[in-house]
């Protein structure tokens, strides 16, 4: 073990002076995590601005404004302002002051009360997500209105009397005031999604940990090329000691890379990773998994260039499949299922679990899978890599 530590210490000493290692292990993932979190707004930070033009001023229009639209404002999801005309609202959209304008045309309430089709106008700016939210809210209101119309017609049909406008209006108001019979509530499990900063920090950490981990075990091939491997083997140490030394380097670099990412995204970008003990467990398990995969690749490679290229391909492929570039909740069902074959998905899953407030016990599944990946790939890799040491 002492000789393995001597080998690892020598390698780490060399890596400290190696700027490419510093870049790949720390600077690149940190920079990309920062860029991703800037480019893709998180769901928890979503906020839209709408301007409403109420040209109708009828009871249904009032219901829309005081109901769903006020609800958005109360939930701090959107800022709702008013404008006097469609032209004024359109000017605000064009100027970028608001994300979208909602125009309630003249006769809107009357049309609905008369059982006639009515129309709402959304004038959208470039923020498509905000426009989609507005469209969704109005569509939902439209469904409610349809239900009210059906109810009013049923009520009028039961009385058998001719439609009386005041009665129709009262029935409509009463129907709109009825609370929804089914309320969907979301518990913590359903909401387990880390903030975008945390998510992309974790994604980049898990992507680049493979590049960090490669520096140890790939060094075995470089030592063979340089002749220093033979010189080490001529020393009173066994081949297993040399392999252990290289694996230690990979593990240390992988853990340092991920730890720096966790700390830096927390301090600089405001990421919230969750329970420190559980995060540490996930980081160590992921480092073991990445080291195992890197060792497996080295076991089948002939040169360090070949191994480096193969590890890059494996890391990027697993990253795409494992949800490092987009949340798996937005991925097709098949890809989401496939992602479970990657350590990336299990690590991110663990981080998402922690975002919901869980502790070390919450991420047991992720830990077991990551350690199993590291054990299996590392075991095969070491068996193959032994041939590199002793041809």
């Amino acid at each position: 073990m002492r000789a393995a530590i001597v080998i690892a210490a020598k390698d780490l000493r060399q890596k400290i002076g190696d700027r490419s290692a510093l870049f790949l292990a720390i600077l690149a993932p940190l920079g990309l995590a920062f860029l991703f979190s800037l480019m893709i707004p998180s769901q928890d930070s979503f906020h839209a601005a709408y301007v409403v033009v109420d040209l109708d001023r009828g009871p249904i229009a009032q219901g829309l404004r005081s109901g769903p639209l006020q609800g958005l404002a109360d939930a701090d999801v959107a800022t709702i302002t008013s404008a006097d005309s469609e032209a004024a609202a359109r000017a605000e959209v064009d100027a970028g002051d608001v994300d979208a304008a909602i125009v309630i045309p003249v006769g809107f309430s009357d049309a609905i009360q008369a059982g006639q089709p009515a129309r709402l106008l959304i004038i959208g700016g470039p923020a498509t997500l905000s426009v989609e939210v507005a469209r969704s809210v109005l569509a939902r209101f439209g469904s409610d209105v349809t239900a009210v119309q059906v109810g009013v017609r049923a009520a009028l049909g039961a009385t058998g009397s001719a439609p009386e406008p005041s009665l129709t209006a009262r029935l409509a108001r009463d129907a709109l005031a009825i609370p929804a019979p089914i309320v969907v509530s979301a518990d913590a499990t359903a909401q387990r999604q880390a903030s975008s900063t945390t998510y992309y920090g974790a994604s980049m950490a898990v992507l680049f940990v493979f590049f960090a981990a490669q520096f140890g075990v790939v060094g075995l091939l470089a030592e063979r090329r340089n002749g220093t491997l033979a010189r080490m083997l001529a020393s009173p140490i066994g081949p297993g000691t040399i392999l252990l030394g290289k694996v230690l380097v990979s593990l240390v670099l992988a853990i340092v890379s991920m730890t720096v990412l966790v700390a830096a995204t927390t301090i600089l970008l405001g990421a919230s990773w969750g329970d420190p003990l559980a995060v540490a467990g996930l980081v160590v398990a992921m480092a073991i998994a990445a080291t195992g995969v890197a060792t497996l690749v080295v076991g089948f490679a002939r040169t360090e260039e070949q191994a480096g290229g193969a590890i890059a391909i494996v890391a990027l492929t697993l990253a795409v499949l494992g949800g490092s570039f987009f949340p798996l909740s937005q991925a097709p069902e098949g890809l989401a299922a496939l992602s479970l074959l990657t350590p990336h998905a299990w690590f991110i899953r663990g981080i998402n679990d922690l975002a919901a407030g869980g502790g070390i016990s919450t991420v047991t599944g992720s830990l077991v899978v990551l350690l199993a990946v590291g054990g299996i790939t590392g075991g095969i890799g070491l068996a193959r890599a032994r041939r590199v040491v002793t041809p």
Partner: protein
């Protein structure tokens, strides 16, 4: 010397790479303090042989013992007695000379003050003390070579294995390397030296094995090897005076096999000419010849190699 208990004992070593036999039944011994040369052309099996001796390569057959202990890839105790100097530089260019020495010293189970002292000694021995803190990639080729050899000497091994240490080395550095090896041998270190340079084998080695196509073709001292091909020393003299009479008298001596003379020159074929030089000069002078110069030309290993393998050493 060979009657001492051998420090290195190789028995019937075999190694194959696919269909090609690299080493085919090599056996030899080296006594403490003996310098033993493996002389052969590139591809003869020298490096494969020493790789098996140093425990770097799995054998297909045979045994190796160093100081009575069997050597294998995992035989850590036996390896502690071996100092290995590979043919190509095996050092870290991005570390300093001292860092290289300390690293390999620690792998040799050295540490603390002993290691620090020994590193200083090696730096002095290799004339690198002033450059100890410099990165190796700033060194000249000769300095790197010296460091490469110094690492092999760190732990004062009983057996030093040098694999063609002078390949690609300038004449000055080569001379220094050969002198160092000779000094180490005089201090009692057993040396296994592979080379394809005949002059180095003749200069350094107490015994030489001529190796070709994975087999030892012949083994012995330089004189024993030369004797195998029946060649004798030649004595070439430039003289004046009674050259013809002196030639006749010299030809009559028991140890002179052949004598020719004329035009101020006398040439003799003699066994072990250096031992008989005083008698030769005395006889020439006694018969009226004034000897102005004398040169002894001994048969070399090139001729032996050609005789044994049918090809030149540098083929």
């Amino acid at each position: 010397m060979a009657e001492m208990a051998p420090l290195l004992e190789c028995r019937d070593l075999h190694k194959r790479y696919g269909d090609r036999t690299a080493v085919d039944g090599i056996s030899f011994e080296i006594a403490p303090g003996e310098t033993y040369g493996l002389l052969g052309p590139n591809g003869a099996g020298k490096t494969t042989t020493i790789s098996m001796i140093c425990g770097l390569l799995r054998r297909d057959g045979g045994e190796v013992f160093v100081d009575g202990r069997p050597v294998d890839i995992g035989a850590t105790d036996a390896k502690a007695s071996i100092g290995y100097v590979p043919q190509d530089l095996a050092i870290y260019p991005d570390l300093t000379a001292r860092e290289n020495l300390v690293f390999f010293g620690r792998l040799q189970r050295m540490g603390g003050r002993d290691l620090a002292t020994r590193v200083d000694e090696i730096l002095a021995l290799t004339d690198l003390t002033d450059r100890a803190k410099d990165r190796v990639d700033s060194f000249s080729g000769g300095m790197k070579r010296r460091l490469n050899i110094g690492i092999g000497l760190l732990h004062k091994p009983a057996l030093l294995v040098l694999d063609e240490p002078t390949v690609g080395v300038d004449p000055q550095s080569r001379n220094a390397i050969l002198s160092n090896v000779a000094d180490l041998s005089r201090e009692g270190m057993a040396v296994l030296y592979t080379t394809h340079y005949m002059e180095e084998a003749e200069r350094l080695c107490d015994r030489i094995a001529i190796i070709d196509e994975g087999r030892i073709k012949a083994e012995g001292t330089r004189r024993e090897l030369v004797a195998l091909v029946g060649q004798r020393d030649r004595v070439e003299m430039v003289a004046s005076g009674a050259v013809a009479a002196a030639t006749t008298a010299l030809g009559a001596l028991d140890f002179v096999e052949e004598a020719t003379g004329g035009d101020g020159r006398i040439e003799l074929v003699v066994d072990q000419a250096r031992n008989h030089l005083p008698s030769i000069l005395e006889t020439a002078a006694g018969n009226g010849a004034l000897v102005k110069s004398v040169e002894v030309v001994e048969p070399d290993l090139e001729a032996v190699f050609l005789h044994l393998t049918g090809k030149a050493l540098r083929d």
